[in-house]
């Protein structure tokens, strides 16, 4: 059995719409410095760096080479990943693999995006398949709305139920110092009366675009307890894809095959039979309200078609039986390359008992997911107990 790894420190910038005060490199360094400062470590403890983003989003080819000084300097391995929206979670999974393999003892994972330096229209254009998608595109929102319509049609979830997810997210964000969109007084009515973008999706159903970076430090099992009072152990990881084209999965949100596969793999690995009961908290990659409800079902938090019931009953509220995204989630903060790593970091903070005002009391087992690319899913289980 390979050795275990644990997250021992985390750092996030405060996510905002535009960081005009710093460059991309300085923004990344802010997250790295906060991460190391959490345990009073210096950068020389880091054996390797894994970093992820989408190069065309800021127009920089091989950005990790240009910005290597900000990452702590040359003279060590720097691994660059790009797996789409899920890349931050792919970074976390690779950090775990590198430590468990015995190749490195302490690995720093970084995810970032400074979306204000790019262009959201440009982003979606470059993501589209040049042969099959670019000539028939309706933007990220149009794509998402089509998927949501399939789910709404099958599950019968209502706009009110989706709006409750928006309210939960933006209220939870008020308890998270790093979150971007904070709306303490948001109401279901406000969400339902926000501008219609593409039915059933309204403005407040969607995530924002943010500038920000996140960093997490992974350490081998012998080191971890010495570096952190209560490390967040990586108990299981899994990665799964769907088919290649957007239209391949016949029922998209209604039947998220890669999310089902990845979550079932990690549940099996740690002996979770009833995720609603066995998980204490989940940080999932929900780019829109309807996606969160669909993910409840596909992550096995409830039966098929019962995603709306779960939010109605308050199960996923902070204080509910299984709080989902107490950080405010992607609906409140979305710097794409950082977003999935923020899910992992927030899950880690929960099981470390260091989530502050949005702490789920006594959280010991947390699920984090990333979702991007073409339904590319990463899933991790973090625990306060060494597995």
């Amino acid at each position: 059995m390979a050795r275990r790894s644990a997250i021992v420190a985390t750092g996030q910038t405060d996510f905002v719409a535009r960081r005009l005060d710093v460059s991309i490199a300085e923004m990344i360094r802010e997250a790295v410095d906060r991460c190391l400062a959490q345990r009073d470590l210096d950068g020389s403890r880091v054996d390797a760096v894994v970093i992820g983003n989408m190069e065309l989003f800021e127009g920089l080819h091989m950005p990790e080479q240009l910005m290597v000084a900000a990452l702590g300097g040359g003279g060590r391995p720097v691994y660059k990943l790009n797996t789409g929206g899920t890349v931050g979670a792919s970074v976390a999974v690779m950090c775990d693999h590198l430590v468990r393999s015995g190749l490195h003892d302490v690995v720093l994972g970084i995810g970032y995006e400074k979306q204000s330096e790019g262009d959201s229209q440009g982003n979606i254009t470059t993501v589209g398949d040049p042969i099959w998608e670019r000539s028939v595109m309706a933007g990220a929102i149009g794509n998402f709305a089509v998927m949501a319509s399939t789910y709404v049609n099958e599950s019968g979830v209502t706009a009110e139920q989706a709006a409750k997810v928006a309210v939960k997210a933006r209220r939870n964000a008020c308890l998270n110092p790093h979150a971007h969109l904070k709306k303490p007084n948001i109401t279901v009515e406000e969400v339902l009366s926000s501008r219609m973008l593409a039915a059933p999706v309204r403005l407040l159903d969607m995530c924002p675009t943010s500038d920000g970076a996140a960093a997490a430090l992974f350490a081998a099992e012998d080191l971890a307890p010495r570096l952190a009072p209560r490390p967040a152990w990586v108990a299981a990881t899994a990665t799964a894809h769907d088919q290649q084209f957007m239209g391949d999965s016949p029922r998209r949100l209604a039947d998220m095959r890669s999310l089902q596969a990845a979550t079932r793999t990690v549940y099996r690995a740690v002996g979770i039979s009833d995720p609603r009961r066995d998980l204490d908290v989940a940080e999932i990659y929900e780019p829109a309200t309807y996606a969160e409800l669909a993910m409840y079902e596909n992550c096995g938090f409830c039966e098929r078609g019962k995603g709306g019931t779960l939010i109605d009953e308050g199960v996923t509220e902070l204080g509910g039986e299984l709080p989902v995204n107490p950080s405010g989630g992607v609906l409140s903060t979305n710097a794409v390359g950082a977003t999935a790593l923020v899910r992992v970091i927030e899950a880690a903070l929960q099981v470390m008992g260091e989530a502050g005002e949005h702490q789920v009391p006594g959280a010991r087992t947390a699920l984090a997911t990333g979702y991007g690319g073409n339904a590319w899913t990463e899933a991790l289980i973090l625990t306060s107990e060494r597995p």
């Binding site: 360094r29 065309l56 000084a69 900000a70 990452l71 300097g73 790019g118 262009d119 440009g122 040049p130």
Partner: protein, 150 residues
């Protein structure tokens, strides 16, 4: 309708003996942001001053927030607008050959990348050159037009 200031990808379809080829142009408007040290460097250029950052015994030009070893840099330091060519190369471009130089400015440790406007027969490692400032003072690397014989 006015041309939108948003990205475009035009497409032309070519029929070739090997199959279809789509010729597309992705055009994305980026907006880069300078951090404090780079802002100081660029605004210094608008005043015809070249600034570096102190890092231990070294002076790094252009001014920047982090030294190559990852440490934070210290104070800003003004260096000379004269220096020495560390390396040069000439490349063909559509408008004629362009010569680039790595120029270690007086007082600097690291070289600056810029264009050289030097007669081809005089190009040499170790050559002394000076900045030829552009007429317009702008906070941009193009505030220096090129480096010329000192």
């Amino acid at each position: 309708m006015a041309e939108p200031a948003t990205p475009t990808a035009s497409q032309e379809v070519e029929v070739t003996p090997d199959g279809l080829v789509y010729h597309q142009v992705i055009s994305v408007p980026y907006q880069y942001t300078a951090g404090p040290a780079q802002r100081a460097f660029l605004r210094g250029l608008a005043e015809r001053r070249i600034l570096g950052s102190r890092a231990g015994d070294a002076v790094l030009v252009p001014a920047r927030p982090f030294a190559p070893d990852g440490s934070r840099t210290g104070d800003l330091v003004e260096v000379g607008d004269h220096g020495e060519v560390v390396a040069w190369t000439t490349v063909p471009r559509d408008g004629g050959p362009v010569t680039y130089g790595l120029i270690r400015l007086d007082g600097a440790t690291t070289p600056l990348l810029h264009r050289l406007d030097v007669p081809a027969e005089r190009l040499a490692v170790g050559l002394r050159v000076r900045a030829r400032w552009a007429a317009e003072p702008t906070p941009s690397i193009t505030a220096i037009d090129a480096f010329v014989l000192a």
